[in-house]
């Protein structure tokens, strides 16, 4: 008796929720979101919290043009082919208005190619590769995070002031590491024709054998080192480097290391004085960021990582684009997004018409140890718009439509 009642109740519940869903579909607007949740939880967990906060805020404020915003999120397992399956499901079965997300560059590119082929609007959140907006850019793809080139340009500005003339590089052996080093070298050599590149090390991503790498770099006796490794590789490199004295009396310039995702695991072994890009959430004193920080800490009782900012701003931007277009037609979305200016915790950002890159910037500062934890000090926000090549150069790199 009990059981059959429960069964009946469950059936009714399913039927009603189905009906309710049908009714809701009229009054809601769906965004499809894809990311490497199972492969890169350290980065994607804070990212997810960020976009969930944005969804909550948007719906509390009345949704997008009166419609409730719904984000349908899928895991890609870190594989481009699976990301495409997910994108297909979101577009064909869930009928989302646009695609967002992705972390790894090759997955971002795979989804952007899918978007181009199927004529779907795609807002790439985190992939850093320059190709996604330039060499392999397409009209359906926009990108939020400051690209490899932009971060390199920000770091070069600080690095060029160093007296060091002999430089070594350590970078993971894949596209991200290769293009980061290439852009950094190019921009640096333009500003400082007098410097020499004396050593390069290319450990495989995620599999650095740090001891020999550190020893090899030290033997070249550089005055400064460019590091592009991150995550567990960075931890190993820093530990070996500290023990072997690699960083003593040498300047180090390092991509992304100031992001809490990568800085916090270093704890009391954080090397001091590295010039890094990152996100010092504890020392940003602007009203926009204060509001975000308060809301984030109130909801999660945790501090935000850079991923939280990216997730939050991705959905805020997506909502702004949808609101302005007042349609889910991809052509109207593109028209709305081009040149659109959106508020962000880092201040106003613009999605450029010329290459669909947002002008979100990054903080550049130095690492320091405080109470046994790594922090960024002397950090300054660098606007993305100041670190992009001229329009003529960009137009040359982007394929003609």
């Amino acid at each position: 008796m009990q059981r059959s009642k429960r069964l009946l109740a469950a059936t009714l519940a399913i039927v009603f929720s189905g009906l309710a869903q049908a009714a809701q579909a009229q009054s809601e607007i769906k965004i499809g979101e894809i990311n490497s949740y199972s492969l890169l939880p350290a980065f994607t967990e804070p990212y997810r919290k960020g976009w969930q906060l944005a969804v909550e805020e948007i719906n509390a404020a009345g949704g997008v043009n009166g419609k409730k915003l719904v984000v349908v999120s899928k895991d890609d397992g870190g594989k481009p082919a699976d990301a495409q399956t997910a994108a297909n499901e979101l577009v064909s079965s869930e009928n989302v208005a646009m695609l967002t997300g992705t972390f790894l560059s090759n997955i971002g590119l795979a989804v952007s190619d899918f978007a181009n082929q199927k004529k779907v609007f795609f807002l790439a959140a985190e992939p850093l590769t320059d190709a996604i907006t330039w060499a392999k850019g397409n009209r359906y793809t926009f990108r939020l995070r400051p690209s490899n080139y932009m971060q390199a340009a920000m770091l070069v500005e600080a690095a060029a002031k160093l007296p060091a003339k002999r430089w070594a590089t350590i970078a993971p052996n894949y596209e991200y590491g290769q293009s980061a080093v290439a852009v950094f070298k190019k921009l640096m050599s333009e500003k400082r024709p007098d410097i020499q590149w004396v050593e390069e090390q290319w450990p495989p991503q995620g599999k650095i054998d740090a001891g020999p790498v550190v020893q090899a770099v030290a033997s070249a006796n550089p005055e400064a080192i460019l590091n592009v490794t991150f995550g567990a590789d960075l931890v190993k490199l820093v530990r070996e480097g500290n023990t072997r004295g690699l960083f003593k009396d040498r300047s180090v310039v390092s991509f992304l290391t100031g992001e809490p995702e990568y800085l916090d695991p270093l704890k009391d072994e954080t090397p001091e004085g590295w010039i890094v890009t990152g996100y010092p959430w504890y020392s940003i004193k602007t009203p926009e960021h204060d509001a975000f920080l308060k809301a984030y800490q109130a909801k999660y009782n945790d501090y935000p990582r850079l991923g939280s900012i990216v997730g939050y701003e991705t959905i805020k931007s997506a909502a702004a684009i949808l609101a302005k277009a007042n349609s889910t037609d991809p052509e109207k979305l593109i028209a709305a997004a081009e040149g659109l200016s959106v508020p962000s915790p880092f201040g106003e950002i613009v999605f450029r018409k010329i290459d669909h890159q947002s002008t979100l910037g990054a903080f550049v500062g130095r690492t320091a140890l405080k109470d046994g934890k790594g922090v960024m000090v002397d950090s300054v926000y660098r606007k993305g718009s100041d670190y992009l090549p001229s329009d003529a150069e960009v137009a040359k790199m982007r394929p003609k439509e």
Partner: protein, 628 residues
Amino acid sequence: MAFYFVQFLTGLASAASLFLVASGLSIIFGVTRIVNFAHGAFYMLGAYVAFTLTERFSGAIGFWGGIVAAAAIVALVGVLVEMVLLRRIYHAPELFQLLATFGLTLMVEDLVVLIWGPSDLLGRRAPGFKGAVDFFGQNIPSYDLFLIGLGPLVLGLLWLLFQRTRWGVLVRAATQDRDMVAALGVNQKWLFTSVFAVGVFLAALGGALQIPRDAVHHAMDLRIIVDVFVVVVIGGLGSIIGAFVAAVLVSELNAFGILIFPKISIILVFLVMAAVLIVRPWGLFGRQEAAARRTPGLTINPWRPLTSNERLAAVAALALAAALPLIGGNYALTVGSEIAIFVIFAASLHFLMSVGGLASFGHAAYFGLGAYGVAFLAKLAGLPMILSLLLGPLLGLAGAAVFGFFAVQLSGVYFAMLTLAFAQIVWSIAFQWVAVTGGDNGILGVWPESWAASPAHFYWLSIAVAALAVAVLRIIVFSPFGFALRATRDSPLRGEAIGIDGKRIQWTAFVIAGTVAGVAGALFAYLKGSIFPDSLGISLSVDALVMVLLGGVETVSGAILGAIVYKALSIWLVSQTDLSKLVLGGIIVLIVVAFPKGIVGMLETIRQRRPPTPPKSALLTSGIETAE
């Protein structure tokens, strides 16, 4: 000069870490013949548990006690796994245990994130070994010196254990001839359990000892497992000294190799393994394996072609599948196409494994080569889709012809590892040769032409090719060539005696399997519209193995059902939950325990047990029939 000496010592320290883990794997394999894919997972668990213990109990005793306790705790987990799971499947076909340990690995990867959180963890430095020793201006971390000492110490202890104890004598006997040891009345159950415990203890100890120099995170297992396998194989399976020498060799070559070629690390171990295996087919210290006494499982259940009724049923099932566009939406059709492509891929590996008796660990190489072949033809040469589809797989054929020639000179796990090495070499070329392959950013924009662009058309194309490929492979199985291949598999000596050139037959089979995999890859490139190096990667090769094992190795076409079940399940789970690995791993472990012959193998057994019962419903049998 001081620098080279210090670099040498650094290499030795890396070798010591590698050796600890590799020795455990070598011991387990030598005795139980289990290809323990979960060895990396135990290594990772060792690191996580040690992290927790050393954070809680500080001080020298807390730290070192924590390290040893962590290894012991994980060894207990290993014992549990062996008793509950592996014991049930020792009599399953070879490599089936690989499937079980693969399922476990998937589960552990998600479990550590659930338990310890997603962030990378930084363990304590070892008390007393925090600094570095100055050697003519070069710094050597004292912890490295500790590891350099520990490696030979463990080697010595293991040697004593194996040479000077009764247990060691039994283990060595079992390594040489398991059946004889069992026949002499040794309790194999406990011997296996204890060996497994020792192996897991060493893996966990290796992981725990990494916490002062590494970050503890949820991908540690993948980082080490393949390298460890390679080290074990280079050294010779079951040889502890071999594992030690191989670890030193690989680590030193890496330490000095990066001075000349900074990008060498990514491929070095595989180059070394390929070179060693071509020169010494059983590794440096390995010996030719005694011919295994085959269980007569295959002869009990002789293969036969489909009867005409079964053929009709297969056609009916195909027609049913072809009707999917009537009810399914675009997403269902795209997933259907993907499954059809993986049916082709799995069937090609299954042909090599079940008919040829050659288990390849690098079958994705030919899949990926087919896909890259299409991408080159379509993007660079601008050929039309039909031509690209026809010619693209030729790249897979060419790859299989070259690598197959060397691979078929070996057998068993050595064969498998050489195919893995070749696959990794191809992968690294695709990964590194950015100018041609686009590196890891891949080749984009390989979309089908308008006649095949709609999901329904592409789906029909895929299942038509799949049906054709499966039919051709079945025809080959029951052709004279197929019989010759089976003869070589079952008894190379007798085959040779009646005039069969075994190596040439196996090589031909390898090329056939590689070409069919290339066909699957060619379709895959058009399905996805882009191609990335991970289509050549280890995880895809493992996926194919899992599909074949899931379907049942000892069947004619079990891989078809294996591919459908595995692919559909994993696509569905990834879409439904972030914990897809945990659930998928759990399901695989359950299937392993419930169907030790694979799904199709089990269905066949059930059918044979009660032959007179008429089929219950046409639909059900048609599914089974086509799957055979």
